[in-house]
Subunit: 403 residues, 2 copies
């Protein structure tokens, strides 16, 4: 029988053994490929942003004081002193009682402190422009360095590069970004009952669902899955494959063989890997009891349950947060609160995870035995019932962790 | 001047012109690469799931009625009739008053209707097993076909392939999945003031931020960006590039040149593309007024504002939903409610979008002029103030659309 530990204790052990100990390092990627990656360095602006006083409208650069008090019936008459072209650097200063045409994004000449929109200016072809609305100093202008000064740290290490950050990096001239490398996660399925998914199961054989579910969870967590396929219940073969994978990968997941039956060799195999330390074998979790974790010099080696749903939940609760931390990002659990559509009894002495489907503000439990992977496809998330809790009542407000 | 239309009217026109009219088609991808894609066909199970009565525990298969009334002090004594191996197809039936060892995931023999966990069974080496806890019919067994029968539709077209679905597809033997092709979105930046981001801006030149921001937004929306780079303000050159891109891509985005200045050629260029119909030029939106949309035989051609922030918002509100619909997925806007930390006046006669940073339940407006792309990096989402609303009060509850 397993000596189970609670989920809080397991989380604490994982934090003590793995937090900050192992990093897959960083790499440079093209800005075009950086979306969704985690920035691994502070980024400093290489120029003033903007590098000049910039107009935000099509119109006329003026001295605001020249327009004070003007109106449609009494326009301010300003001498037209020329046009600024887009991208052109202005070499003159705006004189009093004159104006200059500046397009949106163009440079506002020195001396001007306000842009009057085209709509409020009349041009009768007499060399003057007639301003029909007064402007305030600073109006419709982005001042030089308003966004950043050359040398400012604009984006900090650890930022998840969404479109806004990508645009910011582009404005600072970063054609490449230094990001955390995605950790490579080895995946092994073990069990004599397993066949490749391309084969049709006969007798009591079942398809190797876990390789695919876990690979997909790894991708969703920001890692790169490396699948080693199905390894038969042969301790030596499993040991050789696991030892090689522990070297080649940043973390290892072996699903199946994690219980205490005669054929359950994962714990022995993980113990045999030289330098590895078994942290726990057995979690007070339903589903997910037969879970193993070993520390191989700061790399986490997991033995996960063979049941796909159990393996899914153990990954979600214990493996995913580690992968996210390794890749430099924080955890990203999204939760909503909902009211239970029916009572959920739970008195197993184990913390229980129950898939639920959301219907408006109501959470409907999706019952499943732990082998069922399609339960996930019918659910939107899951609720956790603590170890010492006998269940939840109908109508009770629960926190739903979204998939 | 632009004849602006409201956002509701624009959305209606987009729906009328593009909904369901253009699809980039479907493609087969390996299940290992299918995470995050949208399923393009109903998937039918090619076998019964499970294909046999499966034990969910390590223990003994029994007839439940043989265990009724037993206890630790009065165990049921059942003849040990052998063990089922993992993956083995059982060829015998369980007789009355006997039991068979079955590992987790193994086949429960016909005749047995209950699995008793190992923990409740004693083996004194006398050819019998002593059952110390009674079981109920069906206990610890997943019945054949409980999950699905051969021929059942298990996953419907349109499902976003998250890990649960990937696992389900694996269990049904789908090594490949038919998914919607990601639409290819052409991106052109236009403006004489633009330089490649690898160059250092001099004078009033600015870096081409929009190519990168829009490419990143396209990726986030599930599309594939195809960047055509910076095209100078040369109507013929812009026309040639745009016409070619409209053929090669599933949608086209031209940023810059979408206002009504002398140099703003996007509307003319889109009009010149043979067979295209200009739907609108100008939105009652702040930022985002200079926006153009043309219908090119069911393909959407957009002229977006040159200001990165304006272009970002117009994409988010009008382009992203179209891309998501084209790729077979629904829209996925996440919103939270929050209380405003300060009043937000808005009386421009235009619907206004204001970036906000979330601090707990409070939303703090992040003010910016429309050129600022770093405002996005400092924000968590944005609020929309309707066209006819004069603003929001401090403390007012607002809906924040998350980035």
């Amino acid at each position: 029988m397993l000596n189970v530990i609670g989920s809080e204790e397991a989380k604490k052990m994982l934090a003590e053994h793995f937090s900050g100990r192992f990093s897959p390092g960083t790499e440079k990627v093209s800005l075009m490929d950086a979306t969704g990656r985690i920035l691994a360095e502070d980024v400093v602006s290489d120029c003033d942003l903007p590098a000049f006083d910039r107009s935000t409208v099509d119109g006329y650069a003026v001295r605001a004081s020249d327009t004070f008090g003007c109106s449609e019936s009494l326009p301010a008459m300003l001498r037209f002193a020329g046009s600024v072209m887009m991208g052109e650097s202005v070499s003159f200063s705006l004189e009093k009682d004159s104006c200059v045409y500046v397009p949106t994004g163009g440079e506002v000449p020195p001396g001007a402190d306000c842009m009057i929109m085209l709509e409020y200016v009349q041009d009768y072809g007499d060399g003057f422009r007639y301003i029909e609305k007064s402007g305030a100093p600073g109006e419709n202008i982005i001042k030089k360095r308003d966004e950043a000064s050359c040398g400012d740290i604009v984006i900090r290490k650890g930022a998840l590069l969404t479109a806004g950050y990508i645009g910011s990096l582009a404005s600072m001239g970063c054609a490449e970004a230094e990001v955390y490398r995605r950790p490579v996660i080895g995946i092994i399925s073990t069990g004599d009952e397993l066949i490749p998914i391309t084969e049709k199961p006969e007798g009591a054989m079942i398809r190797d669902v876990n390789t695919y579910t876990l690979a997909s969870e790894v991708i969703q967590a920001g890692g790169i899955p490396r699948a080693y396929g199905i390894i038969r219940d042969d301790r030596d073969l499993l040991f050789e494959t696991a030892a090689a994978a522990a070297e080649e990968c940043d973390m290892l997941l072996i699903s199946g063989g994690s219980s205490v039956g005669e054929k359950d060799s994962t714990a022995d195999v993980l113990r045999r890997i030289s330098g590895s330390e078994l942290l726990f074998h057995g979690l007070a979790l339903k589903p997910g009891k037969p879970t193993i974790c070993a520390d191989y010099d700061g790399k986490a080696l997991f033995g996960l349950p063979g049941h796909p749903l159990a393996s899914y939940f153990v990954f979600d609760r214990f493996v995913r947060p580690l992968i996210r931390e390794m890749s430099g990002s924080g955890d990203d659990v999204l939760t909503v609160t909902a009211s239970l559509s029916s009572a959920v009894p739970s008195n197993h002495g184990r913390e229980e995870m129950i898939p639920v489907a959301l219907e408006g503000d109501t959470a409907r439990p999706v019952y499943s035995k732990s082998g069922y992977i399609t339960a996930l496809a019918r659910s939107d998330g899951y609720i956790i019932i603590p170890r010492d809790c006998e269940g939840r009542l109908r109508g009770e407000t629960v926190e739903v962790i979204l998939f």
